[in-house]
Amino acid sequence: MELVLSAGIGVLAASGIWLLFRPRTYQVIIGLSLLSYAVNLFIFGMGRLRVDAPPIIEKGGAGGLLTHADPLPQALVLTAIVIGFAMTALFLVVLLASRGFSGNDHVDGRE
């Protein structure tokens, strides 16, 4: 489990970072999205991996880390997903505005 996920995180991050260095804005936006998957999974993994133990407790009871997955990284990642969406949207629009302004899609606005 851990091995597979960490390999996955690594590949996602490497692909994302490689794309960040590319000159086209579209490559950068895809790269950022890939990188944010990697980072979200990384943060999520910090709470350790659990199968069949969602952090949903019994009514009127209290949960514990022995029986439930760690809710804290999940809450953080939930926030991160939404913020990541906002970032992608903003970047996309900046990309389009820059494209309209400069006439090309290079990250620096000129070839």
């Binding site: 993994g45 952090p55 939404v82 990541g84």
Partner: protein, 990 residues
């Protein structure tokens, strides 16, 4: 030692200490007046003057009243806790010394207000002047009354800033701007040093309280940090008091209106440095370091200032250099470390303020009534303004140190101290000679001031015909000159008790016996005075004709001007070097920046890991779920594929990106994170739609136009480097995550949430309870960010103009439209609606279903996976489908609520929920919960958090829809931009 301060803020007895309560009034009344004055229309100068006059009068009244208390009790204090954790209290404290200063500030302030009322021209924005004037008064009173070091630094900064604004009052004048900037740069730099110095003192003493500091002199002087603290505090004091080598800003500050020069740059502001030195004299003086640093600065300033003053042609320039020199005199006195010298310093501070303020006012009158301040053009004014001339003569005689005037008394004390031996070294030996020489120069420039302006032949071609000023402009000068005379003749009857109160406050038990009498018999100081007087007269007689025709500035070293050096340094620092560094080390290109960022993060992560002996966990292949491994094999293939295809095959890359997102989503489901899975899935859909909408505006790949990129060696090398960095980062991330994930979980705060989610948050879905309850404030901030992003997107797209090569309709649409055109029974857009007929019906009918799903997600959120975020995004997908099915216009005709309203309602609801708990006396966003039984629906968890979640829902929905619509709208808007382009075009459906 000091008497225990009277803590009047927490009175033990029943009486309220009015005296202590007056201290904040003294500081904040001018501030309130300042705010009131700036609100006046710019024509109402007289009203502003009356206001300032009344405020200054009030301050003077309070000061006079407080004298009774100060002379009786020693210290009065008032304080409220501000940030007590950091030892920062709003403490105002008045002892005899700060009383003397507050009396000086309010008395001269009142006189200057009267003077300025007649000096300022009605064409200037006079209320602004008085507003700044009062703000300065407040800052200065705050400075002298603060009983806390940090508070003192704050007021110190405030005086610098207001002084900057006052020097630059006539900002249309370039000299005023330059002078203001220079004054601010110098004094604010000093202020920064002072702040650090005061913090060091606070560190040494263990408290920022002034009383505590003043009673720990030995601890300060013997501390290893003493020298550093001393240098820093001196940097503050010497810059403020225009001491060598920081003296050069003061002459340039003369571009300010004359009342400002009279008030700030002779009587009060420049005395702030002296105030500080005197304040800390008991705890810092007496060491060799103090003696040398302060003494050298003071002695140089004393001599140079007096020498330079002789060669100024501008009346105010002469007075400015004279001020510098007199401040140097006070500094020398303070450097000596003997109590009698300190008495003389305090005394001269008072005397100098009286005669110099009156001289500035006289110079202002001359300027006002003749139109020039150039001494080479002025002459023989005595016959036109005998009254003013007499006043100026008395005041400058005091400046020169002529007997029967107050300047003489403190100068005699200075001479007496100069000939005493305090330390056996060179500086101490030369002091009496330098003192006499400087005094000689001061006689010369005083005579020059009087002789060249008031005597000689009548002036020719002056800008105005000179005459006496209005009566009230002269009254303040008369007051001050009278004070010079009375103090000079009967010092012990007039100033004696006041001075004694001030001296006692500073020196405490060390207060020496001193005599203020005018006549001390034939002694050495008197002979020094006589020598200086005679020498000064002779020197003036010799230099008279040279001065009448020379260029401004002292001979030979004219070019060695502080201003020049200052400008050079500024230009070098802020322009040449800055540009050099930017050119050498900076780049505006994004790629190198990102590369550096990634490489730096790589090293920043790697170095501590390697340094601390990072042990990667052993790789264990057992226990791998083959299905999970297969899923991730697909995921990795998607990621690499997206990276591979993003350049030329954007759609493919987007699909692959979606694939990677889906795998992430599956991972969340697999690993017990249902909330994340739901949110990820929904966000994935919206993101894909978003990027699809954007794809249309990106440039097409022109087949054949460009050759496949030349794979030169350089390109290969660069790609290899990028690949290496990327792989290294990925590898590092893998390694760290694997190592962490296979370790035992340390104790975290997570169990807190699991244990209390139900009992305190009233929900069983711990993630959701965490978001809307425990960490509600974070979520609140987050939705605010989302809101800002949506508005930014909206605003950016309002101004968006697509690139010209993207204006054409997409090829598919052109083909469809051509087909429609060729058939007479079809109209444009028919093909696409035929083609999408069935999907359109389905999409329309999906709306209620999606709405239901969204409501379901929302209501179960507190107990089961779901919640405001997920519900909001799900609902926005419903809206997007309508846009896709019916087109932008169709939906907007039917949409009742604008997305912007959804957003604002959401933000307001969340805020109101948070504030609601305030109303009930709980902290922001505290929630309560219970279950509500709804018919048909069943038990609904109804925490007040659900209201908050409703706000989140509404905002997320609004923001998402707004972003998507704004993008989709571009296609509708594009034809408008197209009108300007040569090719005409019809409307577009979606």
């Amino acid at each position: 030692m000091a008497e225990p301060p009277a803590w009047t803020c927490h009175p033990r007895g029943t009486t309220i200490d009015i005296a202590a309560l007056l201290l904040p009034v003294l500081v904040f009344a001018p501030l309130a007046g300042s705010i009131a004055a700036i609100c006046l229309p710019s024509r109402q100068g007289t009203e502003a003057a009356w206001l300032s006059g009344l405020v200054a009068f009030l301050c003077l009244g309070i000061s006079v009243y407080l004298y009774l208390h100060v002379s009786h009790r020693g210290v009065i204090a008032w304080q409220v806790a501000w940030i007590p954790q950091y030892g920062l209290n709003l403490k105002l404290r008045m002892d005899g010394f700060s009383w003397m200063f507050s009396g000086l500030i309010s008395a001269i302030g009142l006189l200057v207000v009267v003077y300025a009322r007649y000096y300022m021209s009605s064409s200037d924005p006079v209320p602004r002047f008085f507003s700044l004037f009062l703000a300065f008064m407040s800052a200065m009173l705050g400075l002298v009354l603060s009983g806390n070091l940090i508070l003192m630094a704050i007021f110190w900064e405030m005086t610098s800033i207001v002084s900057f604004l006052l020097i630059g009052y006539w900002y249309q004048n370039g000299q005023a701007r330059d002078g203001a900037r220079m004054a601010l740069t110098v004094t604010a730099t000093g202020g920064l040093c002072l702040l650090v110095g005061l913090m060091l003192i606070g560190h040494i003493v263990g408290s920022y309280d002034l009383d505590a500091v003043l009673s720990s002199g030995d601890a300060i002087r013997n501390h290893p940090l003493y020298l550093l603290a001393l240098i820093l505090i001196l940097a503050g004091a010497l810059t403020k008091s225009a001491q060598f080598p920081f003296h050069f800003w003061l002459p340039h500050a003369m571009a300010a209106p004359t009342p400002v020069s009279a008030y700030l740059h002779s009587a009060t502001l420049v005395k702030a440095g002296i105030f500080l030195l005197t304040r800390f004299w008991p705890v810092m003086a007496g060491t060799d370091a103090w003696f040398w640093l302060v003494g050298l600065a003071g002695l140089t300033t004393l001599l140079l200032g007096a020498y330079f003053a002789i060669f100024q042609h501008d009346l105010k320039g002469l007075l400015a250099y004279s001020t510098i020199s007199h401040l140097g005199l006070i500094t020398v006195l303070l450097s000596l470390g003997s109590p009698v010298a300190a008495v003389a310093a305090i005394f001269h501070t008072l005397n100098h303020a009286t005669f110099k303020a009156s001289l500035f006012m006289a110079a202002g009158i001359i300027d006002h009534e003749t139109g020039t301040r150039d001494m080479r053009r002025l002459s023989g004014l005595f016959r036109y303004m005998p009254h003013t001339a007499t006043l100026a003569m008395v005041a400058s005689a005091s400046m020169a140190g002529v007997p029967l005037l107050n300047g003489f008394l403190s100068k005699e004390m200075f001479f007496a101290e100069a000939i005493e031996t305090h330390k056996v070294n060179l500086l101490d030996t030369v002091t009496p000679y330098v003192a006499t020489l400087a005094s000689l120069f001061s006689v010369t420039y005083s005579i020059r001031f009087i002789h060249s302006v008031f005597f000689g032949p009548p002036p020719r071609d002056l800008p105005k015909v000179p005459h006496e000023p209005v009566r009230w402009m002269r009254v303040p000068v008369e007051f001050l000159v009278l004070a010079c005379l009375i103090v000079g003749i009967v010092p012990s009857l007039t100033i004696g008790p006041l001075l004694h109160t001030a001296v006692e406050a500073v020196l405490k038990d060390d207060t020496p016996s001193y005599s203020l009498a005018m006549w001390h018999g034939w002694n050495l100081p008197l002979f020094m005075s006589i020598a200086a007087l005679i020498g000064g007269v002779i020197l003036y007689a010799l230099m008279k004709s040279y001065l009448a025709n020379s260029v401004e500035g002292p001979p030979y070293i004219r070019r060695l001007e502080g201003q020049r050096i200052f400008e050079r340094v500024l230009v070098a620092l802020s322009w040449r070097w800055a540009r050099l560094v930017e050119a050498k080390a900076g780049t505006r290109r994004l790629q190198p920046q990102l590369r550096i960022l990634a490489a730096a993060s790589l090293f920043a992560a790697a170095i501590p890991l390697l340094h601390r002996g990072f042990q990667p966990a052993d790789i264990v292949l057992r226990g791998i779920d083959p299905a999970f491994a297969f899923v991730w094999l697909i995921g990795m293939a998607c990621a690499v594929g997206a990276a591979w295809q993003a350049k030329f095959h954007r759609l493919a890359a987007l699909v692959l990106l979606g694939g990677a997102g889906l795998i992430t989503c599956i991972t969340f489901v697999w690993l017990s994170a249902p909330d994340l899975a739901v949110t990820q899935l929904l966000v994935e859909i919206v993101t894909t739609v978003l990027i699809l909408l954007g794809l249309r505006w990106l440039p097409k790949r022109i087949e054949g136009a460009t050759k496949p990129e030349e794979m030169t060696f350089g390109v290969r090398l660069r790609r290899l480097r990028d690949l290496l960095v990327a792989v290294a980062c990925g590898l590092g991330l893998s390694l760290i995550s694997y190592t962490v994930m296979t370790r035992q979980m340390p104790g975290t705060i997570s169990s807190y949430f699991l244990e209390r989610a139900y009992f305190e948050g009233g929900g069983t879905n711990v993630v959701n309870v965490t978001l809307v309850d425990f960490r509600g404030f974070d979520t609140f901030g987050e939705i605010a960010v989302l809101c800002i992003v949506a508005l930014t997107v909206f605003a950016l797209l309002l101004r968006f103009r697509p690139a010209s090569d993207s204006l054409e309709k997409p090829m598919q649409q052109q083909v469809q439209n051509d087909f429609d055109d060729r058939h007479p029974d079809r109209s444009k857009g028919d093909s696409i609606s035929d083609y999408l007929f069935v999907p359109t019906v389905i999409m329309r009918w999906m709306f209620p279903a999606i709405g239901m799903l969204s409501a379901y997600l929302f209501f179960r959120g507190h107990d089961l996976p779901g919640g405001g975020f997920a519900a909001g995004i799900a609902m926005s997908i419903g809206f997007i489908l309508q846009y896709m099915a019916g087109g932008t216009r169709w939906v907007e005709e039917r949409l009742r609520i604008h997305p912007l309203r959804w957003m604002s309602i959401g933000l307001l609801v969340s805020t109101a929920t948070g504030l609601g708990s305030w109303a009930l006396g709980y902290p922001f966003l505290t929630s309560t919960s219970r279950y509500l039984h709804l018919p048909l629906v069943g038990d609904v968890p109804l925490a007040s958090a659900i209201l908050f979640d409703l706000g989140v829902f509404s905002l997320v929905l609004g923001a998402t829809v707004l972003i998507l619509i704004a993008l989709a709208h571009q296609s509708v808007r594009a034809p408008r931009a197209h009108i300007r382009a040569p090719r005409p075009s019809g409307t577009e459906a979606s």
